[in-house]
Amino acid sequence: MVQVDKVNFEEEVLQAKGPVLVDFWSTKCEPCMALLPDVEALEAKYGDQIKFCKLNVLENRRLAISQKVLGLPTICIYKDGEKVAELTKDDATAANIEAMIKEQIQ
């Protein structure tokens, strides 16, 4: 997964070609830590069709809030600089994320 932050978010996510998934997480968020291996497994499966990024909100709080992310875990998909899909909190399960990816790569 590509580590994104306030410096490279514009380039890696908003300017990127094709769909980009961003996993908003932090080391203090236990549910995020539990979810991370699932997201990495999904990258192994769909990584050739959608770019996987992760953003540690601890260092990038303002950036997260600018993306209207104020709770963890949150998984978003961007296309052409726009957020097109999002799952947050309990909805952010491995199965739901996979369904969201499938929908966005069609």
């Binding site: 539990a34 709080r61 209207k68 104020l70 963890l72 947050t88």
Partner: protein, 414 residues
């Protein structure tokens, strides 16, 4: 379901919080093959609690996630397996209990310990659902960081609410508590209340409830209603934390065990539910105090009770139900003098028919469940089994002569 896809264990534990992990430790340590199914990271609610001050053995407190990692490691040390999957449905109707997961896993076990725990209760306010993860939160350790130098509102005034609010003052510029009670009154205990009143970042709005959470994409304000004046005011805020108790995670059971009307599972002191071989431990149980220590205690009791159940049932199956020849079961009790006096006669009958009739003695006090299943209420009572079925029943009072006749009838198969 295809038998080859089914994985079999002695005990399946549903939920990997303090109750489930303690049950796993006790079960695996007594050599039972033990599976824990946990939908997220082991630890449950304690795993997202920043700090525990009242778990014994840790003067100065301990971090929730750290303590829960120790719980999990200790269970694994004795061989418990922890699989990350969400239990979708159960079937407790057969002798083997079946558990199916959202990930497609199918498992069976002789005993199941339900430790699904509870999750934060939601209020159902307008805007609450829509703004979840957008400023509405139920988890201070998950989301507290976002609110560095921002203003937040906390709904609730119990111990958990006040403690979480104080944790949030580490980040937030201000934390405003919306309290339904009169000024100065909190549900939280005195020690926590006094600490909160001294915290300069804590602000208080009394006699009030939140009616609505507003915001376009992220939380912008709450509508507060004063219960005395009915006056509604809008308070600008960046976040709303809700700590108003919990609800049990028991929907997946769809009534497979007896519950109260709020969905908490009913179990006795041995953690036995309404279904034989199914136990419950932790926050999902009807109980007086929901803490890590009481959950752990429940888990230990449930595991020991489950172990006893498995061994009793196995023993009964092997000795009474499985043999291809007749078995005479004498239900006795150390408190029944008649049953003690009559036992030598029973033994004489069995000895004279060794090879064609086995004798099994069951203490009805120690094996109340098995005695109850065969409606044995007094000792002595004698049942004859053939190929797993009861074929004759001899009630007290009886005589050696009568029992001899019945024994021979059973052996001859007439």
């Amino acid at each position: 379901m295809a038998a080859e896809d089914m994985k079999t264990y002695d005990v399946i534990i549903v939920g990997g919080g303090p109750a489930g992990l303690s049950a796993a430790l006790y079960a695996s340590r007594s050599k039972l093959s033990t599976l824990v199914l946990e939908k997220a990271k082991p630890g449950g609610q304690a795993g997202t609690t920043e700090w525990l001050e009242n778990y014994p053995g840790f003067p100065g407190g301990v971090k929730g996630p750290e303590l829960m990692e120790h719980f999990a490691a200790q269970a694994r040390e004795f061989g418990a397996e922890i699989i990350k999957d969400d239990v979708a449905s159960v079937d407790f109707s057969g002798e083997k209990k079946l558990v199916c997961t959202a990930g497609g896993g199918q498992y069976s076990a002789s005993a199941v310990i339900l430790c699904p725990g509870a999750e934060p209760r939601t209020l159902g306010l307008p805007g609450e659902r829509e703004l979840r993860g957008k400023g509405v939160s139920y988890c201070a350790t998950c989301d507290g960081d976002f609110f560095t130098d921002l203003d937040i509102v906390v709904i609730g005034n119990g111990d958990a609410a006040v403690e979480e609010a104080m944790y949030l003052t580490r980040f937030a510029e201000s934390v405003t508590m919306i309290v339904v009670h009169d000024e100065g009154i909190l549900d939280a205990t005195a020690v926590i209340r006094d600490r909160a009143f001294k915290n300069p970042k804590m602000k208080w709005v009394w006699n009030s409830v939140v009616d609505e959470i507003r915001g376009d994409g992220i939380v912008e304000s709450v509508i507060i209603r004063n219960l005395k004046t009915n006056e509604r005011t809008e308070l600008e805020t960046n976040g709303v934390f809700v700590f108003v108790g919990t609800v049990p995670n028991t929907q997946f059971l769809s009534g497979a065990v007896e519950m109260d009307k709020r969905g908490y599972i009913i179990a006795n002191e041995q953690m036995e539910t309404s279904v034989d071989g199914v136990y419950c431990a932790g926050d999902a149980r009807v109980k007086y105090l929901r803490q890590v220590i009481t959950a752990a205690a429940d888990g230990a009791i449930a595991a020991v009770a489950a172990e006893k159940y498995i061994h009793e049932e196995e023993g009964f199956r092997e000795m009474v139900l499985a043999p291809a020849f007749p078995v005479m079961v004498c239900f006795w009790s150390p408190t029944s003098q008649e049953s003690l006096d009559f036992m030598p006669a029973v033994e004489r009958i069995a000895e004279a028919r060794a090879g064609s009739l086995n004798l099994v003695k069951i203490d009805i006090y120690k094996n109340q469940r098995i005695a109850g299943r065969y409606e044995i209420s007094a000792a002595p009572s004698i049942l004859f089994f053939n190929k797993g079925q009861v074929c004759e029943r001899v009630q007290w009072p009886t005589t050696e002569e009568e029992l001899t006749l019945v024994a021979d009838r059973v052996i001859s198969g007439k």
